[in-house]
Symmetry: C3
Subunit: 337 residues, 3 copies
């Protein structure tokens, strides 16, 4: 699709600083963009690329100006990243699926319900009594176990597994003296709200009883695992390889960065943000930003980790103090005589 | 299935404190349970819920009594969690599979052997010469590479991959001066014992030579990876996202909590327990409980991590000491004159 | 295949110390090998096994001699591990696939291109306009999204997902006051070079714009995730469960050990090596070896982590210093009077 800069600006809510009639047909990164392409500058790290980009136009924040001597068309808006998002939707749109509805090689149990407009790719499995809402997309080989409920516009990327058995065993010494792990039937289910997107090969386990829940608007990246009985609030962001143990509850708008681990039976407050690789072993208050393993408030964690890397210096200082104190004690001893 | 409390108590080996004729037809959590449902109290964290639960009966430890003024039927037993497990099996049973035997859309090599009573869901792949024991369950899209051996009653959850090539390369500078990684054919296999359950999207690699082994009764959670030539003893618990590098041997009844990493060529002793996110780089003695990265005995680790979070305080104390010592030295110098 | 020791030695470039006519038909580990088998000794940790092995021959470094009193045939070569690799290829070869070409149960979009000699197992999905080079192997249920490009001799293990949408959302407060994550269409693609091998259930996301790239000769283990817009140089080794966030660039011959996390928009220099579980939050210079979270040069990290485990001792030393200084101050005060 090709539009003029004027049309694009109107669509994404930006002001033009430049040639309103320039033709734009696609989006690209600052470094890669060429004539006819629009790019964006949201991360100041890439500001220098304004001097060299071949893009026809760049979406920028209001304060940004074209580098001296460059005739670069700018589209100014308060939220360049969101404006870019709208530009991509306008110019490229979302994926066009090669087939509509349920692919003949998807495997859907006769007792499952699939909403109108939903797309099931080959190799998808939907088990007994599962319910898929409207306009969902289940990419190849995604698996939905029995009794799972997906809302509307849910996206499961390839290989995602929703509703597998929770990791639940009762361990005891059996009459023969051997300690064994006895499987507890996981008779609960998973319920996923509207507008949830779930990354490739991510696993969300069914509850032992009741439901594991992911509320509307939450986005989950690749290779995440969510344990049985957990509850994820609305509009959370859960980055790749996060692990959340069973029965933990997240509020709304929680962000867990990559590789975070959260133990079971905890409460993570609304709008909390947890830094990458952190380990969460205690409840987290609303609005807090934690980092580290164990997780600490971010400003404290920065000090702690800086000092951590300087431990050898600290030990040198202690050693020097010990020497000085020994000398002082010796002198004191001498004087005392 | 509906039973009386008396029947349930007999089945799970509990004593009734309450109405023996009450009818029970399902299990549920304390907070969610209603009339006709049995729940359990194993984690003291949830004791307060006894006051508000609508369950008809609750399985508890012998010392627990009903809250004052509440007519709550109790089922008393030494191991409430195991008793609950038996109640779930009695009332709900394990999953009823929508098909019996090998689904026509499972892909089984003609040279593979599948034991009686085993269920293969659609999208399952079983490669040449692989052997699947009796009463196994292979959920959708689980993959069993060539020559893999599964015992009886093995469960593979969706997307599990057993027997993919180990990560084995011989790296050398080739005659053209380029350093390349040369793939070593992985001619070994994977052998899984009886009663092993393997989580969704977990990967167990085949050995370079010989076998990667997982012994009977071991339970493995989602997204775990076990490297080539490893050996996992019987009755271990390996929680989600654990990574075990090649040729490492675990004894029996080892527990690895979530996201633990273990390097290669190690021995982890019998009944060892490793805390979440720990990094294991050395052999671990029998019975030990380690935590941290690097892993330390748990009582020591607790001190270390507490002090770690207090590093800024420690530095303040060092700084103050330095100042005091400087003053003392100055005074001493004055006196010495 | 059976060869004489002489033939084997010629093929793998080794010198024989022993019986040139001995027959060899397979490879095995030192502990497991029996008559007619060749093993190797590359890791000195296993040197003692030379005394007990039943192998007919062992590939060793030039300096190694047979244990006293043992008639053990040795094949001496500068790089025993590479020589072993060649022996495995000679005696066993790589996997013979049970079918040739595209299995009828693979799902290939009509607009995709599959090179000659490539093998697609059942359950594989290849999307619109994707290109697969020559002699590739796509194991069961591997998924290649639309527009992905694979070079020649690329191996995708079971469940690998190439080209799923990057984790890209524009978050903003919508006119109704709710903060939502708006999906940015990921209109880029993934390009994989020649001779790349990708482990089971590993995920490589397509770029938002442009391409996520993995250059030739790079080997990636199981359960790795690579974010949108990343670029991995040639001949890298990326071990299991590594997570690389978006737009990060790796040079050539980079090694990331297991469970490493790398944040986005970084540059990791050529031939850099990062230890297991490390967290990389800053650019990494060429040739550097880093360990830890935050990552530090390895020699420094060793000191830091050793001191970390000794924090309780350090605090004892500080406490003792405080006591001594107090005593000195008291004495000084007395003297000053």
């Amino acid at each position: 699709m090709t539009v003029t800069l004027k049309e694009l600006a109107a669509e994404i809510g930006a002001e033009i600083a430049g040639e309103a009639d320039a033709a734009i047909s696609s989006v690209n990164g600052l470094a890669e963009a060429g004539p006819g392409e629009v790019s964006f500058l949201a991360n100041p790290k890439y500001q220098k690329q304004l001097e060299t980009t071949n893009a026809t136009a760049v979406i920028v924040a209001p304060g940004v100006t074209a580098p001296a001597g460059r005739e670069l068309n700018l589209l100014k808006t308060k939220d360049p990243y969101y404006a870019f998002c709208r530009a991509v939707v306008l110019l490229h749109g979302y994926r066009k699926h090669p087939h509509v509805g349920i692919h003949p090689r998807a495997n859907v149990d006769p007792s499952a319900t699939i909403g109108e407009g939903s797309v099931l790719y080959p190799g998808v499995y939907v088990g007994p009594r599962a319910t898929i809402g409207r306009d969902c997309i289940l990419y190849p080989n995604a698996v939905v176990y029995d009794d799972t409920v997906l809302g509307d516009r849910v996206i499961l990327h390839a290989g995602a597994v929703i509703g597998a058995d929770g990791f639940g065993y009762a361990t005891r010494k059996d009459p023969d003296g051997v300690v064994r792990h006895h499987k507890i039937p996981q008779v609960g289910r998973v319920e996923i709200g509207d507008d949830v997107e779930i990354g490739a090969n991510t696993c969300i386990d069914r509850a032992a009883v009741g439901a594991t829940r992911v509320a509307h608007g939450t986005k989950i990246d690749n290779l995440v695992t969510i344990g049985h009985g957990g509850s994820i609030g609305p509009h959370c962001m859960i980055v790749a390889q996060v692990g959340i143990a069973g029965s933990t509850e997240l509020g709304h708008h929680v962000t867990l960065a990559g590789q975070v681990g959260v133990t079971g039976h905890l409460k993570i407050g609304n709008a909390a943000t947890i830094g990458a690789q952190s380990g969460i072993m205690m409840d987290v208050p609303d609005q807090s930003t934690l980092v580290g393993s164990p997780a600490m408030p971010v400003s404290h964690a920065r000090k702690v980790y800086l000092l951590f890397t300087k431990l050898p210096e600290l030990v040198d200082r202690i050693r020097q103090l010990e020497q000085q104190v020994e000398e002082l004690s010796a002198a004191e001893g001498t004087e005392g005589k």
